[in-house]
Amino acid sequence: MADHTLQPDDELLSAYIDGELTADELRAVEQWIASDPAAQAMVEELRAVSKAVQSLPAAKVPADWTAQLQRRLDIVASGGPEGIAHAARSPSVGRSKRGWLWSAAAIAAAVAIMLLLPRDVENELAMREPEVPAPAAAPERDRALADRERGPRALSPAPDSDSSAARTELAEPEARLEELAASEPGIAAMDDAPDSNRDRSDFASIAPLIEGVSPEVASNTYLIVWADVPPESLRQQQINTLLGSNGIYVSTTTDEWGEAAEPVRQQIELRNRLNVDGLAAGDGSGRNSRPLLRNEGAGFARGTGEAEGESGAGDSSGANGADVGNASPQEPEGETILVEATMEQILACVADMQRDTSNFDSIVVEPVNERTLERQWQLQSAHSQAEGQADRFSSDQGETDAESASLSLDADFGQRSSSAESPAKSGDQVAAEAEGLAQQPVAETAPERGKALSKLGVLKEQAVESPQARRLARPAQWYFYNAPPTDAETGYQVREQSKVLTSKMRKGQREPTADKREQIEQLNRYVQQQVAGVAGDEVASGMAEEQPVQALFVLRNNKIVAPAAGETPASESASRPAGEGQGP
């Protein structure tokens, strides 16, 4: 039968053989089949196809597969990825006892690496070292991984002494971080203790780190809502209308970010900093996958009021680049709106965005809470440890200033400089800071984390009197360098990026879901799930709808961040060649 004879109703016949029709539909279809031989024939054909697929033979895993899995589970059970968490969270380990910290982290990192290795490499290793590999048995692993490491950082395996073993161990995490960051679900492995009994006590071990915040407060009071929007929407501030229709009114002025929602900013910038440093370069799943010049990384301004340095935007010379991201006379790169409202309101807005296919695309909801922040910090520490450490040993390898400058971001975190200091410091200055940082990669940044985490709890106590929303200024390029998460662990994809949207496709694929209420509940379930992951069963059984929430809406100009996919109908009508000029 040729395709053109397919009617839309034929779909019912498929559901019919699955027994998935409503009572009404069933009656109608039965009558139809009885009276129409073509329909009857179609039913038989569909059944035949169904049977053919069902009769495919059963599969079995190969014999050694299960054994290999058992080995991996053994590693996990004996405290593999958890080791990183412990190393990261133990400030009591003396700062000067760098060796200890390194070894612990190195061991843990090496073990975590074992978990994330692709199977073929792991097979190789498993054949050489059937037991859990001890750190001293580094050389084999080094050789196996040597070709994976980046050139300047490759260290010749020197298995003799402990310190050199530690050194080579740490070269691995750095190289492996590429896989770590890219292997999205694998990252979650660093998060959670495999052993449920220890989960609760892990919070206790964080306690000294966080000033005055009890673990119970780790409820999810922050959300980030990402979306790509066409430039017209930005210019017309469509989001204002949407928020307004849900009872949230946006103030007319644009503020500096300041200290509000600090954890949110940290999380975004931590997560994307790993991207910025090119770790995700090989991974096509990130939107920021263009190769990033190291110098641009140095110029990446992360705070309000900081000079742009070498960033690409031409008009941000020196002084105040803060507003360029938002209110430039050129095409706006995006906008950031901080909303304080109830959970129900926020989710209602997201539901509206989901339905508004012409104005909002690639909608992702990213929660910010203690767990998610902790995870980013862990990745960060592992990264800066490896960097600072590699810096020391490969300083003659010709690492650029930008490498040190990227560490200056860490220094910035520690110093909270908000003045218009140029981030491109002198090489010596930066190297000195890098040294200092590498000495205590984790402990020093503890106050930072503590502060961020302590802010997580604040909102919970207050009731939401009246919803508020205001725009926050972002520096130029910020919207390009900061992207929503792409893995299911970090963010919930409300609607994926659409390819070219034609009205036909939209009808088929974007069925406006029956009930806005349903949508909200679905989103709520996701958020609940995130909360549950943090504090286990003690958490309130439902996310109270009146719960005050701070949500950051980050809307990015889709022409800038996803030029190929920016052909929404709205932009089609106003399509011009993208001559924004600030394209990176």
């Binding site: 395709d3 397919l6 034929d10 779909e11 016949l13 498929s14 559901a15 699955d18 998935e20 054909e45 569909l46 035949a48 196809v49 169904s50 053919a52 697929v53 069902q54 495919l56 033979p57 059963a58 599969a59 079995k60 895993v61 190969p62 597969w65 299960t66 290999q68 899995l69 058992q70 991996r72 589970l73 996990v76 059970a77 990825p81 978990l115 692709p118 199977r119 999205e184 679900p185 694998g186 979650a188 492995a189 959670d192 203790a193 495999p194 449920s196 009994n197 989960d199 991974d283 096509g284 799943s285 893995d487 299911a488 088929g508 694929q509 069925e511 799930q529 549950a532 992951g533 286990g536």
Partner: protein, 187 residues
């Protein structure tokens, strides 16, 4: 889904640190998960990798399993997400490779058939597998979940996080395409 009750027991034990309990879950579901993943990804190696990774993830995150869905559904979701991100990282999905590794792990049905029948059925199986492999990912997913996993539309919708109406239309389209492919292939 069957075995829900005993799953709950094993899960509770595994959470308490009973590794053997988790192992029993592995044994219970490993073949099924692998089989589905093979159809989904088109590659035995990929399926083995993803399946293994999924179990590891499930083990690590067992605490976060809320028990609201069936364990296998939860496990499958993890595997599914892994498979999707796995696919993104690699070269574009290769259609079911005709290499031996896929065949090796699959037992043709009716092994006591005569040689010629056996051969026919093997050819038939290959044709069906090839046809599935040629489907677009979104169609392949629903077919695999429906026909091989026996999921109802609601469960499919839950796993894939799409509306039920979409499940229905995609499944229909997938079947129509398979019908066309098989009609031309098998003669």
């Amino acid at each position: 889904m069957p075995a829900d009750k005993s799953d709950a027991d094993q899960i509770a034990k595994a959470r308490g640190g009973d590794r053997a309990a988790f192992d029993s879950l592995v044994l219970r579901y490993q073949d099924r998960l692998y089989g589905t993943l093979v159809r989904l990804t088109g590659s035995s190696d990929d399926a083995l990798d993803v399946a293994q990774e999924a179990f590891v993830q499930a083990y690590i995150k067992l605490d976060t399993f809320r028990g609201k869905s069936a364990f296998y559904t939860w496990l499958y979701r993890i595997a599914f997400n892994l498979a999707m991100s796995h696919a993104r990282k690699r070269r574009p999905l290769t259609i079911m490779d005709s290499s031996d590794d896929t065949k090796r792990s699959l037992e043709p049905a009716g092994s006591d058939a005569s040689p010629s029948e056996h051969l026919e059925s093997v050819e038939r199986v290959e044709a069906v597998q090839a046809a599935i492999g040629e489907l677009a990912a979104e169609h392949r997913q629903v077919v695999v979940l429906r026909e091989l996993e026996g999921c109802d539309y609601e469960r499919i919708a839950e796993i894939l996080e799409i509306p039920i109406g979409t499940v229905r239309s995609r499944l229909f389209r997938a079947r129509a395409q398979l019908r066309d492919k098989l009609a031309t292939a098998v003669d």
